[in-house]
């Protein structure tokens, strides 16, 4: 069974149809990168996968559970779907450690001591064990994003969604964040990454989706999609960014 199954997804904001019809499936441990011009609907697509955007039509299944079905508890589903944002969205009034332990403790997943232990392991993994007691405002952008990744991992998600995780970073720290994501991919995490980092997509992705005009125009293994694009729009986009 696919980890994520998207069937005929549609999303409109008022009269504006952002996602017209998208279907795809992501297998366990697969890393999928989503590329496309700005305004093409790629971030909206990602945000529909944990219902941060209410879906206008179609179905999304996470590990077999229909997230659009009102009978299913969306809060429970979201515990399995980690999300990393372009602007980090760390909680500025809490220490790094509290950022990581809040959700596991409040959702009843872990006891406070266990959550803290896990948080320290995760911080060590992203290279920031020394910053546990710091506040987000005391960190650089790259450090913030690594904390945000650790915060999402603290819930033990089955899937990780990344919404342009390096777009707001200074160029010299992009590598640190991508490094953490590469490690995560190697460990077998199922990942969907909306990104402008074509190098990362080419190196890490199992598959790349090119989204434009509310449709998945083309999807393929990175070597084929970057080396031998089939559609005119894909070619036009790649010629501008590569």
């Amino acid at each position: 069974m696919s980890m994520i199954q998207v069937n005929n997804l549609k999303k409109s904001f008022g009269d504006l149809e952002v996602i017209k019809d998208m279907s795809t499936a992501v297998e366990p441990s697969e890393v999928v990168c989503v590329i496309g011009p700005s305004g093409s609907g790629k971030s909206t697509f990602l945000r529909c996968l944990n219902r941060l955007e209410e879906i206008s039509g179609g179905h999304v299944y996470i590990d077999g559970v229909d997230i659009t079905d009102p009978k299913n508890n969306i809060n429970q589903i979201r515990q399995n779907v980690g999300m990393v944002f372009q602007h980090f969205n760390l909680f500025p009034h809490m220490t790094v450690l509290d950022n990581l332990t809040l959700a596991p403790v409040k959702t009843g997943k872990l006891k406070p001591e266990a959550a803290e232990k896990k948080a320290l392991v995760l911080l060590d993994k992203v290279g920031l064990a020394a910053k546990a007691k710091a506040y987000p405002g005391e960190l650089s952008g790259g450090q913030k994003q690594r904390v945000a990744i650790a915060r999402a991992l603290a819930m033990d998600p089955k899937v990780m969604l990344f919404d342009e995780p390096t777009s707001a970073l200074d160029p010299e720290v992009v590598g640190d964040v991508l490094g953490v994501m590469k490690d995560l991919a190697k460990e077998g995490m199922t990942m969907i990454v909306v990104t402008h980092e074509m190098g990362f997509a080419a190196e890490v992705a199992d598959r790349v989706l090119f989204i434009d005009g509310g449709y998945i125009v083309e999807e393929n293994v990175p070597k084929e999609l970057f080396g031998n694009p089939q559609h005119e729009r894909t070619k036009a986009f790649l010629s501008k960014v590569l």
Partner: protein, 214 residues
């Protein structure tokens, strides 16, 4: 000077009443404000309307009229019996509540949407998000405006002397009518109000430094 020293025990009684009414009313007012702000932000239209009508009605009428309405108006029904202290507390609380509602609503709306998105994406419920993420941050931002409203409400309590609440102002008036020394007595009242309000703003400043936004 002698007059002031002789009237100190009475003024002290009045001060205690003023502080008691203020403390109860401001806590109630804050709760009213919080509830109204949440109604105002709720997705249900009917709840928005209830909160909006409440806020507009209170902001659009004078404090004295509200006080008379509650003390004389409501008490004209046989099944209502509010003593003057409680009528005063309720009036100050409702009045402050309407202003707090707007302060709290603006405070909540000033918090970046990304905070809520991050909290919800982790599986926290909307009320957990409010309690742990949005309100603590909003409260820090609101502190100066909340203090300001608290100071206004404290000063409003002096209007309760009109219905005979034995607060600081009322005690002063009684002393003046017995001693015929309005200059010294009202000066003393002014100093006492000033000192409490100054202490309030010191407290607020301390809280702001204590909970500095990082």
């Amino acid at each position: 000077m002698e007059t002031i020293i002789e009237s100190l025990p009475m003024l002290w009684e009045g001060l205690k009443m003023t502080l008691y009414i203020f403390a109860v009313a401001i806590v109630l007012g804050f709760l009213i404000g919080l509830v109204m702000a949440l109604l105002r932000l709720s997705p249900l239209k009917i709840l928005n309307w209830i909160a909006k009508i409440f806020v507009d009605a209170i902001r659009g009428t004078p404090f004295i009229v509200q006080l008379f309405f509650i003390y004389f108006g409501l008490n004209s029904f046989s099944w209502v019996s509010l003593d003057k202290e409680w009528a005063g507390i309720v009036t100050v609380a409702i009045n402050a509540g309407a202003y707090f509602a707007e302060i709290i609503r603006a405070g909540i709306q000033s918090i970046d949407k990304g905070q809520t998105e991050a909290a919800r994406s982790l599986g926290l419920t909307q009320s957990q998000n409010m309690r742990h993420i949005v309100l603590p941050q909003a409260f820090r931002r609101m502190l100066p405006t909340i203090t300001n409203q608290a100071i206004i409400s404290l000063k409003d309590t002096s209007l309760l002397s009109i219905i005979g609440v034995a607060d600081l102002t009322q005690r002063g008036r009684v002393i003046v009518s017995a001693t015929f020394e309005p200059f010294t007595i009202y000066l003393a009242l002014g100093v006492m109000y000033f000192v409490i309000i100054y202490l309030l703003s010191l407290l607020s400043g301390y809280l702001e430094r204590r909970f500095v936004l990082r």
